[in-house]
Symmetry: C2
Subunit: 221 residues, 2 copies
């Protein structure tokens, strides 16, 4: 009847593809990096995913999700983000740890449990990191924002979402108060990939550019 249960590894590859680029092609190197495997391993895995019709790989051009692969990926993301809500809102787990714990649970969650959980939570629209939660069919409204790293000096922005997944990165951002809903002003952008100087609340914060790439913001007017 249903899908013969995809492995955790399979689900993580598909999810990583969406997290890395939405619907764009992803280079195997990026995938490998994200998943902490060698490029050769990622290549092999992509071949297997291709054989299952989940991705299509154009050599030297990157990997893209098929319709089917995208559906699976969005479903994993739905489970992931629903668990994030539960862990944060009900179990009172640390904001910075919620992603990693949810990332285990997501692979152990049957469709019936997913839907019962969504219902229990009141069908939330966003996770604690600010990202939209796909609906049962996998569709969701992408955030209408820009990367903080692309904001202009002088801009005052509101954080829509934090896209980091590594616990240490999340912890660092949490400490600096870089959280969804937070307003801040870009005071200065240092040259040579230098840090952004931000005014967050009453504090000045220096944020490395690559960290700023994890932050999705909306310009205020």
């Amino acid at each position: 009847m249903s899908v013969p249960h995809l492995s955790e590894s399979t689900e993580m590859y598909l999810k990583a593809m969406v997290e890395l680029s939405g619907t764009e092609a992803v280079m195997i190197g990026r995938l490998a990096e994200r998943l902490n495997v060698t490029p050769v391993s990622a290549n092999e895995m992509v071949r297997r995913l291709g054989e299952q019709g989940l991705v299509s790989h154009k050599p030297y051009k990157g990997v893209t999700l098929t319709e089917k692969g995208n559906e699976v990926a969005c479903n994993v993301i739905r489970r992931q983000r629903l668990w994030e809500c539960f862990l944060y809102d009900h179990l009172k787990i640390e904001w910075s740890q919620v992603y990693e714990f949810a990332c285990s649970l997501e692979h152990a969650t049957a469709p019936q449990v997913t839907e019962a959980l969504a219902n229990f939570l009141g069908n939330p629209q966003t996770c604690p990191r600010g990202n939209p939660i796909p609906d049962k069919n996998g569709s969701f409204i992408p955030l209408d924002g820009i990367l903080l790293s692309e904001a202009k000096v002088g801009d005052t922005v509101t954080i829509l979402a934090v896209n980091a997944t590594a616990t240490d990165v999340l912890k660092y951002l949490q400490e600096k108060n870089i959280l969804p809903g937070q307003k801040m002003t870009v005071l200065e952008a240092a040259p040579l990939q230098g840090p952004l100087m931000l005014k967050v609340g009453s504090k000045e914060v220096a944020l490395g550019l690559s960290l700023a790439e994890f932050v999705i913001v909306k310009s205020n007017r």
Copy 2:
């Protein structure tokens, strides 16, 4: 630092040992049966578990959990039963399906999540099937009851727990109202391993002996 994460398979072998016999030795054949693998496979796995110091195997005498193995097993059971509570009480999942869904989640649950969940649930003492939930240290008070299959004709008993794990068995028992808390009377025990005739509420129910072995009861007075 902590244990290097035991595989799902490892956790299931250890849990099965407790479920099958508490602290008694388990024959590899029973283990194999329960886990749906061949005896040869169970043997190999038991060897690996032995190498990790989780069990000790006396050929022809059965397998027993070491101290360490028992601790792990009880911890898995704790996670399992806490999830059963959550799924049943909060997500309103079917009683008969709760075990199988919890049996996936149990392997994906970090200690921090386990404790936060216990707290959220109000540190329940029993799961929906009536079994005690081990505390953080793995200790729990075993049920003080007998198998329904050993009850005498004429006995009136109260169901303490249902130890079945297969969803179809649980569904069958649920349909017959064989549930924790239920009172019933043993009307007749057919010869030659024949079924027990029970008076459950206002209904008469015929229950096969091997099914009755899943039911733990307490004689009323």
